[in-house]
């Protein structure tokens, strides 16, 4: 059998004048605000989540400025408390949870499945509007003076003691939850019922498996947050003792209910990141992902096991020793499927064709940083250590390694990977590589010292701290400055590329996947005729063969 090479298939189309695509199909503001097209809705989301990302990022930067010195000399205590609360709320509810699913999932999933749109396009648009309404509450709260309870809203502080806009912000989070639920619902039905002919479950790209698992978690966990927030709002308004011990309530019950959602929520945030990484690893190694079925099932395992570990946030909060042991054990087990993914992605690179283009740089960064974030999770799951590091900067470092070193890097990988498909343009490669480097260096400098300062004894949510913690904090702030630069640069060059970037053909990367068989940008209905899939996921020879046949047909 002759070896197929990249020249055998028409991966790169000659650039032509822009044909009709989803961007120029209709013009006018209303054609965007009332669109049912999943691709346009994804663009609407990109704008919203990016704005919230920078709002949350500015709060973080202000916090880091304050933390340059041990004294609380830049802001008042109340202001600082509002900064970290809003940083958490904005980043989690308005950026991390929607970003990859609502931007990349919305755009790519139907195309990846060979479908014309998601199952419920109008509900998709409704999702965005609900998100914007929830986000408006968030913006209102920021402008009206903020909220200072921490994003976790622990009672009785949030219900009986805080003098800030707790009701408004919990209402905003409650509303935004519905956006999440509807998106998850849309994805689940689309994956079940709208796959192209020939696209069996085990031929699906791993992106789809992870998004599927994410959607399951969204559907089952978010409603529990919703009811918890309802009870919080009821207590706040009526001053009755649902969670207030003075009136017979149990504040630890609040923590159980809150974390029953919020722990699966972290899997809602990381699984889509893993989805992107699987795609990029395959594309930039031009190889099948090693152990496809294991990676696919590991997404489901993470989703399932993720529901069983919530009380590891309550090890010192008042649960019994025996409960603590059960949750510690389960928390160790939930690390296994994530480890499988890391090892399998690494193994995929063996004897592959590894490109060093920007998405792959973010992928390499993700694998390295997610590994560190994941293993520090083991530290936290180990009861003897958690007693010491709970509520310290060690925890802060752990989750930022996963959320920023993991999810945000994966998001950037996906944005760069699918940028040509979404916009029809290539981004400038060297500026992008520079940004990736700045992000990687800046990130490590920001967050690695936080592991150290946490174990040494610095509690989290501290406005002022003991003087001996200063050096590590200064390093962290220095890193934050570099990280900020790494995030600002893409804003500039990605916008630049819209007008001046090199035009991209259907498959600039030479990757396997249905999305790479349509023009860049895709036409409104994604495919001129429904594709028929005859290749396994990432099966280069079979894909090339199929492409040649459609070309010759």
């Amino acid at each position: 059998m002759t070896t197929t090479t990249i020249d055998d298939a028409p991966f790169i189309e000659p650039s032509a004048t822009a044909p009709r695509n989803y961007l120029n199909d209709e013009y006018g503001v209303m054609s965007w605000l009332l669109t049912r097209d999943h691709k346009r809705i994804a663009i609407l989301y990109i704008f919203s989540v990016t704005i919230f990302f920078f709002v949350g990022g500015i709060f973080a930067f202000l916090m880091r400025l304050e933390l340059l010195t041990p004294e609380g000399d830049l802001f008042t205590s109340d202001t600082y408390n509002k900064l970290f609360t809003l940083h958490g709320i904005v980043m989690i509810f308005f950026f991390l949870i929607p970003a990859i699913p609502a931007v990349l999932g919305n755009f790519i999933l139907p195309i990846m499945l060979g479908a014309k749109d998601l199952a419920f396009p109008k509900i998709n648009l409704l999702s965005w509007y609900i998100y914007m309404i929830g986000g408006t509450f968030g913006v209102y709260v920021i402008i009206a003076g903020g909220v200072d309870t921490g994003w976790t809203f622990y009672t009785p502080f949030s219900t009986q003691y805080s003098n800030t806009h707790v009701f408004a912000v919990t209402l905003g989070a409650f509303i935004t939850g519905f956006s999440s639920i509807l998106t998850g619902l849309n994805f689940l039905v689309t994956i079940h019922r709208m796959r192209a002919p020939g696209l069996t479950w085990f031929r699906l790209p791993l992106f789809v498996w992870s998004i599927y698992a994410t959607s399951v978690v969204i559907m089952l966990a978010t409603p529990v947050l919703a009811i918890t927030l309802v009870l919080l709002m009821v207590e706040r308004v009526l001053h009755v003792g649902i969670f207030d011990p003075a009136l017979g309530g149990d504040p630890v019950l609040y923590q159980h209910m809150f974390w029953f959602y919020s722990h699966p929520a972290v899997y809602i945030m990381i699984l889509p990141g893993m989805a992107v990484i699987s795609e990029c690893v395959a594309a930039f190694t031009r190889k099948k992902i090693f152990g496809y079925k294991f990676v696919a099932f590991s997404s489901l395992a993470i989703a399932f096991l993720g529901f069983l570990v919530w009380a590891h946030h309550l090890f010192v909060a008042g649960i019994s020793i025996y409960s603590a042991m059960i949750f510690s054990f389960l928390s160790m087990i939930v690390a296994v499927p994530s480890a499988i993914k890391v090892f399998n992605w690494t193994a995929t690179m063996y004897r592959a064709s590894v490109s060093w283009q920007t998405p792959m740089l973010y992928v390499l960064g993700f694998i390295g940083l997610f590994t560190i974030g994941g293993v520090t999770g083991l530290f936290l799951a180990a009861l003897g250590i958690d007693v010491h590091v709970h509520d310290s900067y060690f925890v802060v470092a752990h989750f930022h390694y996963i959320m920023v070193g993991g999810t945000i890097m994966a998001y950037l990988a996906g944005i760069h990977y699918w940028w040509p498909k979404i916009t029809g343009r290539m981004y400038p490669e060297w500026w992008a590589r520079l940004s990736a480097l700045l992000v990687f260096v800046g990130f490590n400098l920001t967050f690695f010292p936080q592991f150290l300062v946490g174990y040494v004894g610095m509690p989290r949510r501290y406005h002022a701290y003991a003087p001996e913690f200063q050096v590590l904090n200064v390093l962290s702030t220095a890193g934050a400055t570099i990280l900020a630069a790494g995030y600002v640069l893409p804003m500039i060059y990605l916008f630049w590329s819209l007008k001046f970037g090199r035009k991209a053909g259907a498959n600039p990367w030479g990757a396997v996947g249905l999305e790479w068989t349509t023009p860049s940008p895709p036409p409104k209905e994604n495919f001129h005729e429904t594709p028929v899939v005859t290749w396994d996921a990432y099966d280069y020879p079979a894909f090339l063969k199929a492409m040649r046949e459609t070309q010759n047909a």
Binding site: P121, P223, T228, L231
Partner: protein, 239 residues
């Protein structure tokens, strides 16, 4: 082109199973363009409603859990709180709601059988019964408020037999109002949807090929009914 589905097996020769090139000739007015055929659309809608119901179960499940925990902690107060509910009214409401589920199920059958007037009548009856339920609930709420049982600063009720239970009874009433309130909200949303469906049914939108909206409306309505079947004993009948 698409793998045959249960819908196709149930409806051999229906428009949806025609090959793609005939699709234009048999294009059903309510077929949405991103679906291949009505069969796929029907299955997608139904699956979507089942998933929606699943997350609703988690929503109500959360508050059922909290209710259970407090019931174990305060059995006497919970019992006293339940005694304050009029079980006869609750039973009446339960029968009304089960009746409305019957009329809803008949509406689904009628839609599929293309019985326009019958379907519309059944939907109207469902709406009336559902409204009766909400109306009775409103009456119960009013009575509770008059007795000083609304939680918060207006809670003036004192449990004379054992004053120490008063706090627990207030907590019970929080759960009572929140659980029945959320349930009633779901019913009101359902009523709004029913008004829309009555209009569509009267217009003759539904028939053998296209009745899935009524079916999934039925699914939603039955689910809301089942939630009440759990609420009634937990809030009215416990001892």
């Amino acid at each position: 082109m698409r793998n045959p589905t249960l819908y196709d097996l149930q409806h051999p020769g229906a428009a949806g199973s025609q090959p793609a090139d005939d699709a234009a000739a048999h294009h059903h007015p309510f077929l949405q363009h991103h679906f291949e055929d009505l069969g796929q659309q029907h299955e997608a809608s139904t699956l979507g409603m089942w998933f929606f119901v699943a997350q609703e179960i988690l929503f109500f499940g959360g508050i059922f859990c909290a209710y259970t925990i407090y019931r174990v902690m305060y059995p006497a107060a919970w019992s006293a709180g339940a005694h304050h509910q009029n079980w006869k009214i609750g039973l009446f409401n339960t029968i009304v709601l089960i009746g409305s589920s019957l009329t809803m199920a008949l509406a689904v059958w009628g839609a599929q059988a293309a019985k326009r007037k019958f379907t519309t009548l059944m939907l109207v009856l469902t709406l009336l019964l559902g409204s009766a339920f909400v109306g009775v609930k409103g009456y119960e709420y009013r009575e509770h408020i008059h007795e000083g049982l609304f939680p918060g600063s207006n809670f003036t009720y004192v449990h004379h037999e054992d004053p120490s239970l008063t706090h627990g009874i207030e907590l019970f009433m929080v759960f009572y109002f929140t659980m029945t309130g959320l349930h009633a909200l779901h019913m009101i949303i359902g009523a709004g949807l029913l008004i829309w469906f009555i209009k569509r049914a009267w217009r003759g939108d539904f028939g053998e090929e296209y009745y899935s909206p009524v079916e999934i409306m039925g699914l939603y309505w039955h689910f809301v009914d089942i939630v009440w079947i759990f609420l009634f004993p937990l809030l009215y009948l416990i001892h």
